[in-house]
Symmetry: C2
Subunit: 346 residues, 2 copies
């Protein structure tokens, strides 16, 4: 008999939590029981899960009794509040916040890239930042074949990464502008920051707050997490992270330099065609390239516009798109759970 698991979702009513529940319903993951947890405010709501009614409960320290896998996506402070309880009750915590990502004791995992890191877990496993996940999933096959010396990325990020309030703001603000009505930005670019700007019909070069070096935290997440996942501190990585008026689906303009001469675009396309979790969409003759509206709702990472740099023979440009709530968050977390089972770790 196959082993089956008690899975808890913390942040069950959030943008990512909702996707996690949907994915757990659809995939064949062996579930014995599901606990849907939230703040006191959202507790009491009812959901149907695999045909049965489940009541959302307030997350409390003893909520993790008997839980095997706890999927957290309710903000870093909630993860920190309950991490000890979850682990003490024997659960493996898969955390979708930034709380533990750079903790040297915590594996930071994209299953297509570094599944082996799961073996070293001490109770907590971190799910990387959405913009990092899709980039490393697309670049890993290239790196394995030709080495990767440098990445320069500019992102085109959807608002859903900032949660349901951000989606609401984009939609109501878009409607206000189309109707010629007034509006007062209150959420974007960063809910907790001092100033707020129009996101509808605009592009804001700030995601998360600024760090001391004038990069934002989002940009430094892409830099530091990429190095940790690819286990290469010497890799050169720079990022500019920009919020655009898209609901779901992050796009990335990525420039890379490989470690070898004479690599061809055809070779890179061939690698990506075979790569797990990656879909090559690249045919300029038929205007085939990925875009957010097409990628939304899908689990894969889509890559196109691959072309050689005009000056550096080791340089290549490409366009990487994925649903930030799926591969960028919920789906990667479920894949981590699946990989734990497949590798016999849990």
């Amino acid at each position: 008999m196959t082993k089956s698991y008690h899975v808890a979702v913390v942040g069950a009513t959030g943008a990512v939590g909702t996707q996690m529940i949907q994915l757990l319903e659809d995939v064949t993951f062996p579930i014995k029981e599901v606990s849907l947890l939230s703040s006191a405010r959202s507790a009491g709501k009812k959901l149907t899960f695999r045909g049965e009614e489940v009541v959302i409960k307030e997350a409390k320290p003893d909520s993790f009794k008997g839980v095997d896998i706890a999927l957290f996506s309710a903000g870093g402070s909630i993860s920190k509040q309950f991490a000890k309880d979850a682990v003490a009750h024997g659960a493996v915590m898969i955390d979708n916040t930034s709380a533990y990502r750079m903790d040297p004791e915590v594996p930071l995992v994209v299953p297509e890239v570094n599944p082996h890191a799961l073996r070293d877990h001490k109770g907590i496993i971190a799910n990387p930042n959405c913009s990092t996940i899709q980039m490393v999933a697309a670049l890993q096959p290239i790196r394995e074949a030709f080495g990767l010396d440098r990445i320069i990325v500019s992102t085109y990020q959807a608002v859903s990464g900032s949660g349901i309030q951000a989606i609401d703001e984009l939609q109501t603000q878009s409607q206000a502008i189309l109707s010629g009505e007034d509006f007062a930005p209150a959420v974007m670019p960063v809910k907790g920051d001092k100033r707020h700007f129009q996101i509808a019909f605009n592009a804001l070069p700030q995601i998360d707050v600024f760090t001391d070096n004038d990069y934002t935290y989002e940009e430094m997440k892409m830099v530091n997490e990429t190095k940790k996942i690819m286990e290469d501190e010497a890799m050169k990585v720079a990022a500019t992270c920009v919020r655009i008026p898209v609901v779901s689906g992050h796009s990335e303009s990525v420039y890379i330099e490989v470690d070898q001469d004479n690599v061809t675009v055809a070779q890179i396309k061939e690698l990506l065609e075979k790569a797990p979790g990656v879909v090559l969409q690249d045919d300029p003759a038929t205007q085939l390239y990925p875009h957010a509206a097409d990628a939304a709702g899908k689990k894969e990472v889509f890559v196109g516009r691959i072309r050689r740099d005009l000056d550096n023979p080791r340089g290549f440009h490409m366009w990487i798109v994925s649903d930030n709530l799926l591969k960028g968050a919920a789906w990667n977390s479920i894949q981590i759970a699946e990989s734990l089972v497949e590798q016999g770790i849990i």
Copy 2:
């Protein structure tokens, strides 16, 4: 007595032509007479210019009789159709299309960068592509001081660069999506190309059609025009051009490598603070950075998010924003006319 000029605007009812007329009304440029020209379809419409009613006329070969300066912005085929007539009648043609930009006989001018090139004109002067203009205007002060070895740019371009139909499509499509109604993309990414995709709440990595090397014409315009304007064929330039759901205001994530060691961010900021036509908006502590909604309707090029690359000491990243219909098109054309007068060329 100051000399004054007969100015013609060809494409008077288009997105750029409308801005040209508005700017000519506002600036102190010495105008003796204005001719507003269009296709037969738009002819007959009336506009008020400096208090007088002007009837828009169909552009014909003899429309340029007595014209001193002809501002063209009605598409490349119209520019080619009337260039000889305009020049034969003694007009200086300032062409906002791509028809003559790479012609070695035609100066390609951004007045803040290469006004001296105007002296070599043979009747036609080309106004560069919108995305190129704002980038070179911002980078020229840096290049003059420290040299410029390399540019890698990813753009976030507004739809108004594709004309009034593109603006209409973005607005009606946005409304349809917000209202849950069906829609059929018919204009974006490129009106004349085979396939059309959703632009509302999306990002499309195609501007203009593809060239043989899998870059788009827009991307190759940025590469080739930048080298021509900066008079440096050896400069390394690469571009990824992306259309986003913004009405007006192009944004650019730009990575540069300068030719000198020990250049500081403070030095670059100091240069840009003094640069003509450039406004520095760069203070992470107060979330000050440029964005399209703020730049729309303004003539300047706005620069912010300036920071050193994390690996290459000669590398810097920045965010450059400008109104693509103004500095990117209409305003740069008027500035060319002004520079012709100031330099005594006309």
